[in-house]
């Protein structure tokens, strides 16, 4: 059975998001590399970072990359702190541009941040006005009752078929609403908190996160929430029918397998149905 699963605004927004996240994450790591340390509070006390990436020279004259989290050092040579013969936070394959170039990283970041925000706001409006939000995304009481079962199904890679596959399951609903209405606005607001001009106009904003440096740290953590989401998302997309999933996000049409049988009898549904 074919169902029209994703409307065109959702599909367009989805692929724009992929582009934006790709650029924003990598240019963000480029910007982070200009001062590869994070702090809590309003200021950066160099002797008390929450996280830092440094290159050190050992007694034998060897260079090592050391990442320190809450005072616990880890040897991350080759990836964090020191890679490809250079002292740098994240390695060049993870940053945009590849070489250390803060001014260019900021250009990419602040340009795609605008597209990301406008795209996100348009999706919010669309989801609220088209009822996509209430109908498909918000977990209902009935979903939440089966959260244990769905979690177990995810962990064992048993995914719903037939009628059940027509709707997002509770894990999907929580992941999508969490990203779109939680982590998304969080990363935008913490980003804006780092702007001295914005802080002058809205001084409560950085205070909300405990200060500008806390906001920078939360921005970084939210970035890795996106990375984590993307990894799980890709695994799920690949293991629940890669071609079917990709096609539905490109053309809108999604094939649902009937429980127990093949889907030779294709029932086309009204796209608006």
């Amino acid at each position: 059975m074919h169902v029209y699963r994703h409307t065109w605004p959702v599909r367009l927004g989805h692929w724009l998001n992929l582009l934006c996240l790709f650029v924003l994450i990598m240019s963000g790591l480029q910007i982070f590399n200009a001062h590869p340390a994070l702090y809590w509070g309003d200021r950066s006390d160099r002797d008390r970072p929450f996280l830092s990436m440094r290159a050190v020279i050992t007694e034998s004259g060897e260079r090592r990359g050391i990442t320190t989290v809450w005072g616990h050092p880890f040897d991350t040579t080759g990836v964090l702190g020191y890679s490809s013969g250079m002292r740098r936070g994240f390695p060049s394959w993870a940053t945009l541009p590849g070489p250390q170039w803060l001014a260019m990283g900021r250009r990419w970041h602040l340009f795609f941040a605008w597209i990301f925000v406008v795209n996100g706001l348009l999706f919010w409006l669309y989801a609220l006005f088209s009822r996509h939000f209430w109908k498909d995304l918000v977990p209902k009481w009935n979903d939440l009752r089966h959260i244990g079962r769905d979690l177990w199904r995810h962990l064992t890679f048993h995914h719903p078929t037939g009628e059940e596959a027509r709707h997002y399951n509770v894990m999907q609903k929580m992941a999508y609403t969490g990203i779109v209405f939680g982590i998304g606005p969080l990363i935008v607001l913490t980003g804006l908190s780092m702007s001295p001009a914005f802080d002058a106009a809205f001084p409560w904003l950085p205070d909300l996160f405990g200060g500008r440096q806390s906001a920078r740290t939360v921005h970084f953590l939210a970035c890795f929430a996106f990375v984590g989401f993307a990894v799980v998302h890709l695994v799920m997309v690949a293991t629940t029918g890669l071609v079917n999933n990709l096609r539905s996000m490109v053309t809108g049409w999604f094939v649902i397998e009937q429980g127990g049988g093949t889907d030779d009898a294709q029932v086309f549904q009204d796209p608006n149905g």
Binding site: R43, R107, A113, W114, F157, M194, T240
Partner: protein, 260 residues
Amino acid sequence: MTRRFSKTPTVDRRRFLTRALQATGFLLLAGCDSLSRSDWFPQLLGKTENASEKVQRLLSPRQAMAKEFTPDDLSPVFPANGTSNPESEAYQALAKNGFADWKLEIGGLVHDPASFSLDELRAFPSRTQITRHDCVEGWSAIAKWKGARLSALLERVRPLPSARYVVFHCADPDEDGQPYYESIDFEDAHHPQTILAYEINDTALPIQHGAPIRLRVERQLGYKQAKYLMQIELVESVESIAGGRGGYWEDRGYEWYAGI
């Protein structure tokens, strides 16, 4: 129940996918890096600087004040970034006798060009503020600054109607001899927190922080806070100065509007 993709990928398929991903990644990154080195693409990216500036200025009242902190919030150490001791002979000679011979020249598009000694600057209406310094690199530090209000100086020299920018010429050239300079518009120049600071944390500004005078323009990033001020020039356009983008770092690709 038939499930098309439930089989675990074979090693070959996995290797193929990994290589394909690596190749795609490499092409994407190489593409992005060559875009970064083109002329047109960074310019396109830079367009949003105007959007950010316009939207922020729309949202932010003209006289919105940067947050001021308490003495408890002061950074134990305020890092000295950029030049920490200008090498030029002229500057070193001024520093040798405690800047007694130093004078700040104010000229350009003004009715009454003037120059002021450090003592004369101290006689101007002053302001003391504990503010957060936000470096473009990402770190922040909090210090207490005291200095002459730039608006009071401008009132004294009486700008001509054609003047639109205030340019700050500094004493620290880089290794290639390019001098540091910065510029701000009149709105920021008249902001109450915009001062020519001669004190940090209740002591005379030391050389590493820009002695004898450093600009504080609190709603912008650290590179706008020019150190080692020698001369202030009022101009209609910054295009004819150095790289023409209104500042040392601006000429090197950073935004003139350093509000974000």
